[in-house]
């Protein structure tokens, strides 16, 4: 019973972190172009500074 006192807040906190991550991804426009994002993974990044 006693462990519930910290286990439940931990569970809720983890859920809330997931929710916050989702909110962040929504806000930073990651759902604007789902198809494009899938392709961009494969493209070479050209703006990368050459060493």
């Amino acid at each position: 019973m006693n462990m519930l006192i910290y286990l439940i807040p931990i569970a809720l906190l983890m859920g809330a972190m997931g929710l916050l991550a989702f909110l962040w991804s929504l806000k930073s426009g990651q759902y604007e172009d789902l198809q494009g994002a899938a392709w961009r993974v494969l493209a070479d990044d050209e703006n990368e500074p050459t060493p």
Partner: protein
């Protein structure tokens, strides 16, 4: 190298409408710090290679600071500096860069309602309800697996605390819609949903306060979660279609060159053109407002306005209407109407008056709800009274009634329709057909008559040489040599046709409204309409289905060329398939009756009506529906827009006028007309699956309701029953996808077989 290597030259040839720097400045908007943002629609981007090609091409321009392609909406957002190296930037370079990379680029004005706030709100609500549902379900599982009374109470309280804000936040879409329906004395699916969710929360809270054993917090929140997923999918599907359709080229001009009294010229937006203003229109531009021609002669293409397939000659004093394309000469037009009162505005009035099938139609889900919710509410009331009077325990009676409401809450019913429609719309999207909303699919499945417009729909508005009579091949070569100098569609068709190589001419003059004229070795050659080439001939009769071009040498006719409009690819197959399946097919066209008759004969349509104005097309649609037919109207022109709105359901090709695309329920992007029977087939399949899903959802209720009435519906049973029924309904909807795959496989197999046989 990729799926979509386009030929740069052909793209440059296609983009007949080049944009001026002033026009681009009108649609771009300032961001501050001397930066401007320009949004362009690039309908041809398909894959990752397209993205990097365009972004690389734009980033190479010195004044572009940022360029980003959005593949989902097929758009480019380009941010550029207004001034670079102390010079004003010429933004036409942006469009040129995209064109020379091999893509078409169109300007478009972002529509305010198009922004994604609703979508983001829905996604947010899905996130919040998902968070609440998973946490509460976690707590419920420990309750079901036998927590002791104190722990159970604590878990119930935590669930109540999580559920309350989630219900208010995520449930507001349903509550609002239910309240709206009730306010207008109607009922929809959201009424039983809202009722079940709020009641189950209230009863659970009451139970929790009294240390009761059963709480339904998990049921009420996961219900919202499932339903929100359905609603979000539905919304995303419509947004996707709308973005694709809005991104197409706009046919209406955005601005015009105004002639000032002192002789200077100014480029102004068309809204600012006043009655009496004089506007210069170059060859190749569209006419911005209704007006009278002051000076200049030209041929104008009215195909998008009236459906007339052959160009009309105009001169000083002629009336011209907005939307027509000026083909051969420059014109000065005096505006007789404001842009907002022009032909387009009259058409919009007609459309509003004609608003037919769409406005009257009630969605399947709402029709089902109008039967379902009274039945369910009555059932709950009856079980409440029965348990109260016969059992004597009113508290238990209340619990049973709430259990009935929760069990019958149309979770599966609420998913049954949107999921099928999203899957069907996705299937059509892959075939190049955009569906604007789910109700269009429902209406499309009911169709029994298909009405086609001719010009631009059954035909593609490009003339094709069908017959040549010439004394000698040399004259054909001469005619082609003359024809290459003109942008008149008949001349271009002649120049494109096969046969001898064109004879070069040095000095060719184009006489607008007549044809082309040139001198060679002391002889005068003329190519054009019969009256121009051969002034001595009698005026030709107008009932031939063909357009004629004549070549004369020193006023003597040497060759005649007959043209007809090219049929849209797949038109014959599409009409054959529709006839085979027993649909009635009709042409309603604004073109001459003889032309319409010959098209109907070639394609095998049942009925051909020509020379119809926009109002008459509407009347024809209304007459058909008065006779009990459900009409699918397929059309593209400005003159078709009222009929598209009046028909039960409507379709337009992507090349249609803006207003035609706005009016249509479905827009098809591929050239081929087979999109029409394909869309009907998918819609029918979807309708069948929706009926199956309803049967499944109601069958589930028939099983579960007696358990609830008997008082055995514990939260565990409710949760299991609800989730399984939702999963079954979604799985059934996904069968539409596999069906499409089967068809594709069959088609590949038949083609392989044909290839093998050949």
């Amino acid at each position: 190298m990729t799926c979509c290597d386009l030929n740069t030259e052909s793209v440059l040839a296609m983009s007949a409408t080049s944009f001026s720097a002033e026009e681009i400045a009108l649609v771009s908007h300032p961001l501050g710090d001397g930066l401007r943002q320009l949004d362009l629609s690039v309908p041809d981007v398909h894959c990752g290679a397209c993205i990097s090609t365009i972004e690389r091409a734009l980033s190479a321009l010195p004044y572009v600071t940022k360029a980003r392609v959005n593949l989902t909406s097929r758009r480019v957002t380009c941010i550029y500096r207004q001034e670079f190296d102390k010079q004003t930037t010429d933004p036409t370079g942006i469009i040129l860069a995209i064109n020379s990379a091999g893509y078409r680029a169109h300007l478009f004005t972002p529509i305010a309602s198009e922004n994604d706030t609703t979508r983001n709100q829905l996604l947010l609500a899905v996130g919040v309800s998902g968070f609440a549902a998973t946490n509460i379900m976690l707590l419920s599982v420990s309750v079901w697996s036998g927590a002791d009374a104190a722990t159970r109470d604590m878990f119930h309280w935590i669930s109540a605390l999580i559920a309350a804000p989630a219900l208010v936040y995520a449930g507001r879409f349903f509550f609002r819609s239910a309240w709206n329906a009730l306010k207008h004395g109607r009922t929809n699916m959201d009424v039983p949903i809202s009722l079940a969710v709020t009641l189950s929360y209230a009863v659970s809270l009451w139970e929790t306060m009294h240390h009761g054993e059963h709480a339904w917090f998990d049921a009420s929140v996961s219900l919202l979660f499932f339903l929100l997923i359905g609603r979000t999918l539905d919304h995303v599907m419509r947004e996707k279609a709308r973005a694709a359709i809005n991104g197409l080229a706009r046919l209406a001009p955005r601005g015009a060159l105004l002639l000032m009294r002192d002789g200077s010229r100014h480029y102004i937006p068309i809204e600012d053109i006043a009655v009496g203003d004089e506007v210069a229109i170059a060859a190749g531009e569209r006419i911005p407002v209704d007006g009278t021609i002051l000076s200049g002669e030209s041929d104008i293409d009215l195909s998008i306005v009236t459906g007339e397939s052959s160009p009309v000659a105009v001169a000083g004093g002629s009336q011209v209407s907005s939307g027509a394309m000026n083909l051969t000469g420059s014109l000065v037009v005096r505006a007789t109407k404001l842009a907002k009162n022009s032909l387009l505005a009259e058409i919009i009035n007609l459309m509003e008056a004609a608003e037919g099938g769409r406005a009257r139609y009630r969605r399947i889900a709402d029709r089902a709800a109008s039967l379902y919710s009274p039945a369910v509410h009555l059932l709950a009331l009856v079980s409440f009274l029965a348990w109260g009077f016969f059992g004597g325990d009113w508290k238990h009676a209340m619990l049973v009634a709430v259990a009935v409401l929760i069990i019958t809450c149309p979770c599966a019913l609420g998913l049954a329709v949107p999921v099928v429609q999203v899957v069907a719309a996705g299937e059509l999207f892959r075939k190049g057909v955009m569906v604007k909303d789910g109700s269009a699919l429902e209406r499309l499945a009911e169709v029994d008559t298909v009405a086609f417009d001719k010009t631009g729909t059954l035909t593609i508005g490009v003339p094709r040489l069908v017959a040549t009579t010439a004394l000698d091949d040399r004259f054909i070569a001469k005619a082609k040599g003359l024809a290459v100098h003109s942008r008149h569609p008949l001349s271009q068709a002649l120049a494109r046709s096969g046969g001898p190589a064109p004879t070069p001419f040095d000095r060719v003059s184009e006489i607008p409204g007549g044809g082309l004229q040139a001198c060679r070795a002391g002889e005068t050659y003329r190519l054009g309409n019969a009256a121009f080439a051969d002034p001595t001939a009698a005026s030709p009769s107008d009932d031939s289905p063909f357009s004629e071009v004549v070549l004369s040498r020193n006023d003597e006719v040497q060759a005649r060329f007959l043209f007809e409009d090219t049929l849209r690819p797949g038109a014959r197959e599409a009409v054959d398939e529709l006839n085979l399946r027993g649909y009635e097919t009709v042409i309603v066209s604004g073109d001459r009756q003889s032309v319409v008759d010959s098209t109907a004969l070639v394609l095998g349509l049942d009925k051909a009506l020509g020379a119809l104005g926009p109002q008459q097309k509407v009347e024809e649609c209304q007459r058909l529906s008065a006779n009990g037919h459900r009409v699918l109207m397929v059309g593209d022109g400005i003159n078709d827009a009222p009929a598209l709105a009046a028909a039960h359901v409507s379709m337009a090709p992507a090349t249609a006028s803006d207003i035609g695309r706005q009016a249509a329920d479905l827009v098809f992007f591929n050239e081929r007309l087979e999109a029409v029977p394909q869309a009907i087939a998918v819609a029918k399949q979807a309708a069948k699956l929706i009926r199956q899903n309803f049967a499944l959802a109601i069958g589930y209720n028939v099983l579960a309701v007696p358990i609830a009435i008997a008082g055995y519906a514990t939260p565990l049973i409710a949760a299991v029953a609800m989730s399984t029924s939702s999963i079954i309904v979604v799985t059934n909807a996904l069968r539409l996808n596999t069906l499409g795959m089967h068809q594709r496989r069959e088609r590949t197999m038949t083609t392989t077989r044909e290839v093998n046989a050949a």
